[in-house]
């Protein structure tokens, strides 16, 4: 009877395609919006993830997320280094100076200042140049977004200059960065230089980056640093989630995306449910005939569920393929980079689509189950 169920479904082309479209549209909207949301949240942690040399971030106790830090004192680096189990600890600066090109073009940039001696925290995914070039006088490394903003449609070459806080800097490297939340250009400089590129404040140390000695877990070292210094230490992963939680709790981003996703869910369920219900109603006589002939309620339930699952599977496949295609096509765009369809979103959307088609079929199943087979004898 599975064959009969499938034929009944695809025999009514208009409704079949309507059902597929409803589920595909719903799938696309939910997975697309979820991916954008996850991508934006992921972007809030980009500079944390891009620091690959150190596992532990130490910051002021009240720091809530990466983009808003209270400066530490220079002594705090030494206090962290003195904690038993610390292999090494280095300063990291983060500021937002304004960079100016000599044609007058300017933009606020994210300036990261890495330890002069070790260059811990410098970018590793270089397009041109080397992190070691930071040791040259007045040198900065610029990400592709920054370079293309200040030197649009120009080939990547080193040695170009910009102005930061009335100081001339030379681009000695171009690198790929994870897209930051605000999609601002990212500059790297040595710590001592970076501090001169922003307006002077009493304290400028943003973070201390540290690494645990071999055999000591990062979590244990974080606890020790917390206890010994009164500062807050977290692993990169913990700090990343702390930042994401801040944005979820304190911005309208999740509400905005949540509403869109909820609308996709509701519209998908209603359209699919209504179309499926109408489809069943129009086939009620046929279902009645099948019941009269001796097809059991269980079998008919199985037929309807098979129809629903088929619609769900095809619609989901089309919808998720559309989402994947969208992000594949746009991955080369610097402004949209970093948005990828995570498998968790694909799986979650699949579960929601399963719910949609099951909910859509429930009313239909009920209608058929209560149907008296004798209805077939009523003209």
């Amino acid at each position: 009877m599975n064959f009969v169920a499938v034929q009944m479904l695809i025999g009514d082309r208009a409704k079949y395609l309507g059902l597929i479209f409803a589920v595909a549209f719903s799938t696309f909207l939910m997975s697309h919006q979820s991916t954008i949301f996850a991508g934006i949240m992921d972007r809030t942690t980009s500079q944390i993830k891009d620091v690959q040399d150190a596992n532990i971030w130490v910051m002021d106790q009240k720091t809530q997320y990466f983009d808003e830090v209270k400066a530490l004192t220079d002594d705090d680096v030494y206090r962290v280094r003195s904690v038993p189990g610390v292999e090494w600890a280095v300063p990291l600066f983060k500021g937002l100076p304004r960079a100016k090109a000599f044609d007058g073009n300017f933009r606020v940039v994210i300036m990261m200042g890495v330890d002069d001696a070790s260059l811990v925290g410098a970018p590793r995914d270089m397009v041109l140049g080397s992190p070691e070039d930071l040791r040259k006088p007045d040198s900065v490394l610029v990400d592709r977004v920054g370079y293309e903003f200040f030197f649009p449609q120009q080939p990547y070459v080193l040695g170009k200059t910009l102005e930061l806080n009335d100081r001339r800097v030379t681009i000695q490297g171009i690198f790929n960065s994870s897209a930051p939340f605000q999609n601002l250009p990212i500059f790297y400089a040595r710590y001592s230089n970076a501090m001169t590129y922003v307006g002077r404040e009493r304290n400028l140390l943003s973070f201390v980056l540290a690494k645990a000695q071999p055999g000591l877990s990062d979590d244990e070292l974080c606890r020790r640093i917390d206890a010994a210094t009164g500062l807050h230490a977290a692993t990169g992963k913990q700090f990343g989630w702390q930042t994401i939680r801040y944005y979820i709790a304190h911005t309208g981003i999740p509400v905005n995306f949540g509403i869109t996703i909820a609308i996709a869910l509701v519209v998908g369920t209603i359209v699919a449910g209504q179309t499926f219900y109408i489809f069943t109603l129009e086939n009620l006589k046929q279902f009645g005939a099948l019941k009269a002939i001796g097809v059991t309620n269980w079998r008919i339930t199985g037929m309807i569920l098979l129809q629903a699952l088929m619609v769900g599977l095809i619609g989901y496949s089309i919808g998720i393929a559309m989402t994947a295609a969208f992000f594949e096509i746009t991955k080369g765009n610097l402004d949209l980079r970093g948005f990828v369809l995570f498998w968790q979103i694909a799986a979650g959307t699949g579960a929601v689509v399963l719910f949609i088609v099951m909910a859509a079929s429930l009313m239909s199943i009920r209608r058929v189950l209560v149907l008296e087979p004798a209805v077939v004898f009523r003209g």
Binding site: Q7, G11, D12, K285, A292, G294, E372, V376, F377, R378
Partner: protein, 260 residues
């Protein structure tokens, strides 16, 4: 042959003091008011009467689609009033063929697939089921239209497909609800002739609900109903030559080629 001997020993359908109510309380309506009816194997019995007299309700009870409110219903030697819902479904699947007024063919299935539905419902693999249905359809003159859709057939052809669907699993009771009412006179006669020649066999009974007096000539017995009762039963001419009918029926090939 053993089955034929057995079936001749008792009627295919026996109803005694059968009642059927619909609704409850003040809205309760008694549609059948003590029906007594015998339907013999090897015969075509017509249930006739004015609209609303209870013909279709009686047919539904006999076919196991509705439960009687009171009275006895023996169908093919089994007490239909004592069957559970599941038993009734299985009983219908094995023993009863249905012909509906509006055909109720599945529009997305081909002619052969439609006729094979009772076999598919019984779990017969699709290939065997469709092959058996195709054989029967060829005997009913639809061998050239096996792959057509119902929408591509005339009313008479659709009713022949419905007839094939009713017979493909070799049921022992065939129930037909107004099989000619949607057809013109000539096509209706052709369908009734087919029904008489193909469906009526010594080990099978056929019950037809109709108010079409043109088909009375095909009946072995006519039960007249009025106000929920059988008011008169007429023995018609065809049953006066049962031996001839039995021999003709015995000569019929096995339609389905698949025994249930």
């Amino acid at each position: 042959m053993t089955q034929n001997v057995q079936t001749m020993t008792h009627p295919a359908v026996v109803c005694r003091r059968l009642t059927k109510d619909f609704g409850a309380g003040e809205n309760q309506v008694r549609v059948l008011r003590g029906v007594d009816l015998d339907v013999a194997f090897g015969e075509m019995t017509l249930l006739v009467g004015p609209s609303g007299c209870g013909k279709t309700t009686l047919l539904s009870v006999v076919a196991g689609l509705l439960n009687a409110t009171s009275g006895a219903v023996m169908v093919l030697g089994e007490d239909a009033s004592r069957m559970s819902g599941t038993e009734a479904v299985q009983f219908r699947r094995r023993n009863i063929g249905f012909v509906f007024q509006q055909y109720n063919l599945l529009p997305a299935l081909t002619v052969a697939e439609n006729a094979a539905v009772p076999l598919l419902a019984a779990g017969i693999p699709k290939k065997r089921a469709v092959a058996a249905a195709s054989d029967l359809l060829s005997q009913l003159g639809l061998g050239e239209r096996l792959h057509a859709l119902p929408s591509q057939l005339s009313g008479g052809q659709q009713q022949r497909v419905a007839l094939a669907r009713a017979l493909v699993h070799e049921p022992r009771l065939v129930v037909c609800d107004e099989p000619t009412s949607a057809l013109d006179h000539e096509t209706g006669n052709a369908v009734m002739e087919l029904l008489t020649n193909v469906a009526v066999r010594s080990d099978r009974a056929v019950v037809v609900v109709t108010h079409d007096s043109r088909v009375f000539q095909f009946a072995d017995r006519i039960a007249h109903m009025d106000d929920g009762r059988i008011v008169e039963t007429q023995q018609e001419g065809r049953s006066q030559e049962p031996e001839v009918r039995m021999k003709a029926a015995a000569a019929q090939p096995s339609f389905a080629g698949v025994n249930q």
